[in-house]
């Protein structure tokens, strides 16, 4: 709708898919995962006990999307196919390894999140396809997580955001995932920083170094909201802070 209000889009025909039935459910898989219909309202995901029980990162990400008036109408699948580079869900989708079910007259195909987002508001969805369902793998017990973003006002698009997952092996990092959003055409996974974490004890110096690596590696754009330099610096700081929170959560769940 905003695209049409700004006359950036002038479609000849609009098809409202809101009333297609059967695409708005949240179901808990037997394997501990989640399946969410593309038309499920963001607010329903936010309020879902199943989501809160099964996926703490997704539950924490939902309230960061816009304002509650927006989440009342916005759909889970809508945010993903819209693929705004500053949106939370695409980044969380990559971190959680979500899979997207795309349906066409020829049948279904499943696209992993890492191959789904192509660039600024562009996805792997073909014109003949519709995103019908999102599959979210089961949560690995003991995983530390965090999501944080910086915006002018609560609910505004993030100038920079980060989400991380950390798994520990004793005190050392076994595996991690760092995704930054709002810094380019699509969410960026920081593979180099993840490599630096692997097998390391996550002391203060390591986390500071990783924050600096992330700041160096980011190649954000400047726009009216923030300069590229600001985004690089904030991206680094947010990464360090997110890793600190994720680490604390991983240790806490290890004690339980």
């Amino acid at each position: 709708m905003p695209l049409m209000s700004f006359r950036l889009a002038r479609p000849a025909v609009i098809i409202d898919i809101n009333r297609i039935s059967g695409l708005d459910s949240i179901s808990a898989g037997t394997n501990g995962g989640l399946t969410i219909g593309a038309l499920t309202r963001q607010r329903a995901v936010e309020r879902s006990k199943t989501v809160q029980d099964r996926n703490p990162l997704l539950a924490a990400a939902m309230p960061l999307i816009g304002h509650f008036q927006i989440r009342n109408r916005g759909t889970f699948g809508g945010s993903l196919v819209h693929a705004d580079p500053a949106a939370e869900l695409p980044a969380v989708g990559i971190a959680l390894g979500m899979e997207f079910v795309l349906r066409s007259a020829q049948g279904d195909r499943v696209v992993p999140a890492e191959d789904f987002f192509l660039g600024y508001m562009a996805t792997a969805v073909e014109p003949s396809e519709l995103l019908t369902e999102i599959r979210i793998p089961s949560w690995k017990p003991g995983t530390g997580w965090a999501i944080d973003e910086v915006s002018r006002r609560k609910g505004d698009f993030a100038m920079v955001g980060v989400t991380v997952l950390v798994q520990l092996d004793g005190d050392a990092c076994r595996d991690s995932c760092i995704v930054i959003f709002g810094v380019g055409g699509k969410p960026v996974r920081m593979h180099k920083a993840e490599g630096m974490l692997k097998g390391k004890k996550l002391g203060r110096q390591t986390l500071t170094d990783i924050g600096e690596t992330v700041a160096n590696d980011l190649e954000p754009d400047s726009d009216i909201h923030a300069s590229a330099q600001y985004r690089k610096e904030v991206g680094g700081v947010l990464t360090r802070r997110a890793l600190e929170s994720a680490l604390a959560r991983a240790k806490e769940s290890g004690r339980k």
Binding site: M1, P2, S5, F6, V13, I14, D16, N18, R43, G66, H67, F68, Q69, I70, N72, R73, R153, K154, G155
Partner: protein, 167 residues
């Protein structure tokens, strides 16, 4: 393909059936077709919150919906808050706290607050601030608005206490 559609909907308890252009937003429909001009249009792209109404009880931006999408829906707008001359408790609180000056943003704030207090009847100040973060006011300032919403929540609590204490 016809560019007009017939829609049936309820607004503030009154049923309507109208023939509308597919391209008309719900906000324009309320204002221009039903003459309910209390719903205001500021930014027209979902950012300012002035056009907030309730759709089936949930706060939504009427500028981000097409009128045809509201077919079958039950809507509430600011015109439905007062009962005759009796202001809604939130409207009274806004008056008491001077939570409006020019009043342009007020309908959106009121409808946002109605939905918010229904779900969070005893809010903290922080919760109120977050709830109204999607509504922009450019003259009054947010402090009196926050105070008014907290006052309305408190009044509603006192009234329900009074009701429950009467035998």
């Amino acid at each position: 393909m016809s560019s007009k559609h017939t829609i049936s909907l309820t607004v503030n308890g009154k049923a309507y059936e109208c023939l509308v252009e597919a391209r008309m937003t719900l906000a324009d429909f309320l204002r221009n077709e039903l003459d309910l001009t209390g719903t205001h249009l500021g930014c027209e792209h979902g950012v300012c919150g002035a056009c907030t109404i309730l759709l089936n009880g949930e706060a939504v931006r009427s500028c981000l919906l097409l009128a045809v999408q509201a077919d079958g829906a039950d809507l509430s707008t600011v015109e439905g808050l007062a009962q005759g001359n009796q202001l809604h408790p939130l409207q009274e609180a806004f008056r008491d706290r001077h939570a409006l000056q020019c009043g342009f943003c007020t309908p959106g704030f009121l409808m946002t607050a109605v939905a918010f207090l229904k779900e969070t009847p005893t809010p903290t100040e922080d919760e109120v601030r977050e709830a109204i973060s999607g509504n922009i006011c450019r003259c009054t300032g947010y402090l009196p608005i926050v105070e008014a919403i907290i006052q309305a929540a408190g009044n509603a609590r006192d009234n329900s206490k009074k009701r429950s204490s009467t035998p």
